[in-house]
Symmetry: C2
């Protein structure tokens, strides 16, 4: 595909795209672009938030370029402070390795492994000395670092910033030098760090990487960014059932954002969808996202399950109530379960009622009906809910 | 000597003395204190400014304690920004080693080598990894670093501060951990760095060092601190002649500071000296300081030389002038040098004049008189200065 057309596609859904001209030149020259994405294995799972950047990386792969996935096993020991108001906790090497392993499994649910170079930044940082660190630290000023939005806010609020946090962006930038990346992809909060990479490449006399940032995905609450630490997230390794259910829980406005950033729908497609019933569209979204990770069949199955539970809940909320005396002959102290249910006129025949009891599909309160000969006493029956099959609920007053 | 008496002596001339109580305890417990002084071999020579702290270290030695002299061969690669408004230039390893060598020679003009442990901080920093650096950087906040006076000023003035400069105080502090120092001596501008050492020792679970700072010595200009970069300094390896001459050039007020900080005179002694003639006292100061480095004889010799030159200069400034016609018979186009000089009546006899000429001690302008038969022509002689011996100058008009 010609360079301009590629760039047009790659530009979709980005917030910042810097160095476009240089990229066009490199694509024209026939270069397979090295497209860097770094993830720090700070927790055991990736979220749908990561999916936004992974989707973009996948798009590069589909256009024939080389994904370079950097597992920040070394930088995780510092903790990227980007967009956070407190320093991250320190992880052990074991935790980091465990997390890195699951990250890869999850990343390959979206990326094409054949077109992905996986690197760990301990490869180069593990060999670096104190002197190397000092030379790196020399390449950045305190003032420039304090211009970064989150640092500026923390400094103003007198929230401690450890000096080690000033070194993080330099290390991330150094990754770009080591990997000779042509592009770095990241969330919006990575813009500063990605620009540092550009500077360090320039200082090292190599062509600068383009920088491409994606919007941060909003979480299930529809308010804050999706984050493992806010608990408002869907993990890439959540079960199909949880994935479907969590998507169903988002506000309508958030649903359209997910259609855009997770399913990569165009503005025109989304405009058309807005004419449909929102509940139906949310089910389709949940089904499509579940299908992405667990296959079409799973997507369909989870929708069915969800609808069953939903209908049952609906039935229960709307259930009819009957007075004892309206169902049995006047003055009778007890009645057969079959006669009682037949008197509600909710069943086609006594035969159908007997069949349900025999299948064990009839419940009196919390216990299963014992058999077709079961009788209920008036006093005991008062206030009881009888369920027959999945959707019929009857309350006895 | 008992602990309190030692502390009283050690406190003399200090600006800050922190941790006095702990020191008293350690001395009482019979501990030989480890007294750290760090110097960065950034230039080929030490100055009289260093002498102030070296004198204090020597005082510790004289009381039986252990001097630990740290040659900052590693930290010099960063450059201590203390009290400076711009970052220092980077030195090569070779320059650093060369400087370190001459530093030691100079330091031992003041310190007792037998009671001095010399260490280079490359010993431990040369082995440290990037990860060690990060762990060190974690121990300090940006805000605390920006409280340091010089950083605060530079930040406010928007003068760039490199992040590497924030690491310097941490490295200097780390030296104290490695050396388990009981005391750190430094100039006033080292107070912040020395306190970092105290903190890092505490973090490492060891007893904290006392901190003792000395005033910064004022330079030859009597205004700015003595510094190699201001050019207003006396180097410990200046020649005896330069040393004497430079001391003679300081303003009177500065002379008393030198008596106090370099010769360790008490306020009472200085008060008494102020009754003497300032020129005499300055000669004594210059002589004593020269003697400290080159021996008593050299001190005396330089004073004598100085006085000779000074008298000669005086003689030249006051020299008499004679009209040609007043010295020779009227109308004579030339005259013998001997007759000419005899006519000035500045010499006891013609014999003495001849002796001076024969010794080569008579100069006509810039050239030596050729012999006792020399004659001068009127036209050529006009405006010439004739010097005979060291102190007689005659101008012919």
């Amino acid at each position: 595909m010609e360079a301009e057309k590629q760039i047009e596609l790659l530009k979709q859904r980005t917030e910042v795209f810097l160095g476009e001209e240089q990229l066009i030149e490199r694509i024209r020259a026939g270069k397979k672009l090295r497209v860097k994405l770094g993830v720090d294995p700070t927790r055991p799972d990736l979220t749908f938030g990561h999916m936004v950047v992974f989707n973009k990386l996948r798009q590069f792969q589909d256009l024939g370029h080389q994904a370079v996935l950097v597992i920040g096993d070394f930088t995780t020991r510092i903790g990227d402070p980007s967009g956070r108001s407190v320093a991250r906790p320190i992880l052990t090497e074991e935790e980091i390795n465990e997390n890195a392993k699951t990250y890869l499994e999850q990343a390959f649910k979206i990326l094409d492994p054949a077109k992905t170079e996986v690197r760990r930044n301990s490869e180069w940082f593990g060999k670096m000395s104190l002197l190397d660190a000092l030379q790196l630290a020399r390449q950045m000023t305190v003032a420039r670092m304090l211009e970064r939005d989150d640092f500026a806010k923390r400094y103003a609020a007198k929230t401690p910033i450890s000096i080690v946090e000033f070194l993080y962006p330099l290390l991330q930038g150094r990754d770009s030098v080591e990997l000779r990346s042509d592009v770095e992809i990241g969330g919006t909060d990575q813009l500063f760090n990605n620009l540092v990479g550009r500077q360090l490449q320039k200082d090292a006399g190599m062509p600068e990487q383009a920088v491409l940032t994606m919007p941060l995905l909003v979480g299930l609450d529809g308010e804050r960014k999706m984050s493992k630490s806010y608990g408002n997230y869907i993990a890439l390794n959540d079960s199909a059932k949880d994935m479907f259910g969590k998507v169903m829980s988002v506000p309508d406005a958030t649903m359209w954002v997910y259609y855009e950033l997770l399913l990569e729908k165009s503005p025109a497609e989304i405009a058309a969808m807005k004419n449909e019933h929102p509940m139906e569209m949310k089910k389709r979204l949940a089904s499509a996202l579940t299908a992405k990770f667990y296959g079409e069949e799973a997507g369909r199955y989870e929708r069915e399950q969800f609808e069953n539970v939903f209908s049952k809940k609906q039935a229960r909320e709307d259930m009819p109530a009957f007075a004892w005396d309206a169902l049995v002959p006047a003055g009778a102290p007890d009645a057969s379960l079959v006669d009682l249910l037949a008197a509600t006129k909710l069943f086609p025949s006594k035969k159908e009622i007997r069949r349900l009891i025999e299948q064990g599909a009839v419940k009196i309160g919390d216990r299963k009906a014992s058999g077709v000969g079961e009788r209920l006493e008036k006093a005991a029956a008062a206030g009881t809910v009888v369920q027959a099959g999945k959707r019929i609920f009857v309350k006895i007053l």
